[in-house]
């Protein structure tokens, strides 16, 4: 067997992205909350996952956005740079377009409202439900937070229970605590 030289492999992955032939490009980003799988489409950031084992994510991303998915680091450079700046405390707002295809209208509405919760502040599930036009849908909002496709950038860690308890987090409560501490949030 003649192994493919690493430089050649990398060159192909870059060329595929530059030629605009990919539905989804993804990579793994090393961060203080562990390795994250990050993925973009031509429309924007479409996934941040705490599960660094790509297989399951890749299957799911292919179903949602198209089968031409490849680990191609170059298109992820802006995302990784902004995440680095965020974890260094130098960035309080992300300047990245997002791609929320495959979500229901209500999910999209809630996630758009979520994106407006400022750095270092927290809100409640009920309040977010009210701002999304369905004040009684706090539980549904909880589910949407739990399935948030782009945590950190869409800051579901800033959503807490009405008593101020952290309640839950898709990436585990330790990570939620770490992110809120990083932002010096009042919880």
């Amino acid at each position: 067997m003649t192994a493919v030289p690493e430089a050649l492999d990398q060159r192909f992955r870059d060329a595929a992205a530059v030629a605009g032939l990919l539905d989804v490009s993804y990579d793994i980003a090393d961060t203080p909350v562990g390795p994250l799988l990050v993925a973009v489409t031509e429309l924007g950031l479409c996934r941040i996952s705490y599960d660094p084992e790509p297989d399951r994510q890749v299957e799911e991303l292919a179903r949602t956005f198209g089968s031409r998915i490849l680990r191609a680091p170059r298109p992820l450079d802006p995302v990784k740079r902004e995440l680095d700046e965020y974890f260094e405390g130098r960035r309080h707002e992300f300047d990245l377009p997002v791609d929320l295809r495959g979500r229901t209208d209500f999910s999209r509405l809630v996630l758009e409202q979520l994106a407006r919760v400022p750095y270092g502040e927290v809100t409640t599930y009920g309040s977010l439900a009210a701002r999304s036009g369905r004040p009684k849908a706090a539980r549904a909002v909880g589910t949407i937070m739990n399935r948030n496709p782009i945590p950190i950038v869409l800051p579901c860690h800033r959503v807490v229970g009405s008593t101020g308890s952290l309640v839950g987090y898709g990436g585990g409560l330790d990570r939620k605590r770490l992110l809120l501490d990083l932002e010096h949030a009042p919880v």
Partner: protein
């Protein structure tokens, strides 16, 4: 036949890149295989959305690789003289006339016919592309040819 879904491209690439590279090195030598490798998988990406199922993907990508290698060889050896006398081998005119018919063959037979008669690959390499034995590759090529003959008569 059971439907075989099309895998995410990353999985397809991971699964076949080593074999495709080896195939290209055998056809072109190490240096030129590198350019052909990239072109092969870029062509595969372009064609990927048109695939209707995930069967015989190795044969499919080997066919692309072989086509790229042939293009590469022709590009490297441009004709410098024009002569009325035929020189060297003809450029597979017989196969060129049959190529459009081969499109209608079942996947495996088409790949075997294209690789054998279009590109003169030996049966051991065709077997490699089809993930089958040499005998099975020979059989696929000959039943493909029989099918083509029936269509022509």
């Amino acid at each position: 036949m059971e439907a075989v879904s099309i895998p995410p491209f990353e999985r397809f690439y991971e699964e076949h890149r080593t074999a495709v590279f080896g195939h290209l090195v055998r056809l072109l030598g190490r240096q030129r295989a590198e350019d052909a490798f990239q072109e092969t998988f870029l062509r595969a990406l372009r064609g990927y959305p048109a695939l209707r199922h995930g069967r015989h993907l190795k044969a499919w990508v080997f066919t692309i690789a072989t086509r790229v290698a042939v293009d590469e060889s022709r590009r490297e050896r441009p004709r410098t003289t024009i002569t009325d006398e035929p020189t060297g081998e003809p450029e597979r005119p017989a196969y060129a006339q049959l190529e459009h018919l081969a499109e209608e063959l079942p996947d495996k037979e088409r790949a075997a016919v294209v690789l054998r008669y279009g590109y003169d690959l030996p049966y051991d390499q065709i077997a490699d592309a089809l993930d089958s034995s040499e005998d099975a590759a020979r059989q696929a090529a000959s039943s493909g040819v029989r099918r083509l003959r029936r269509r022509l008569t």
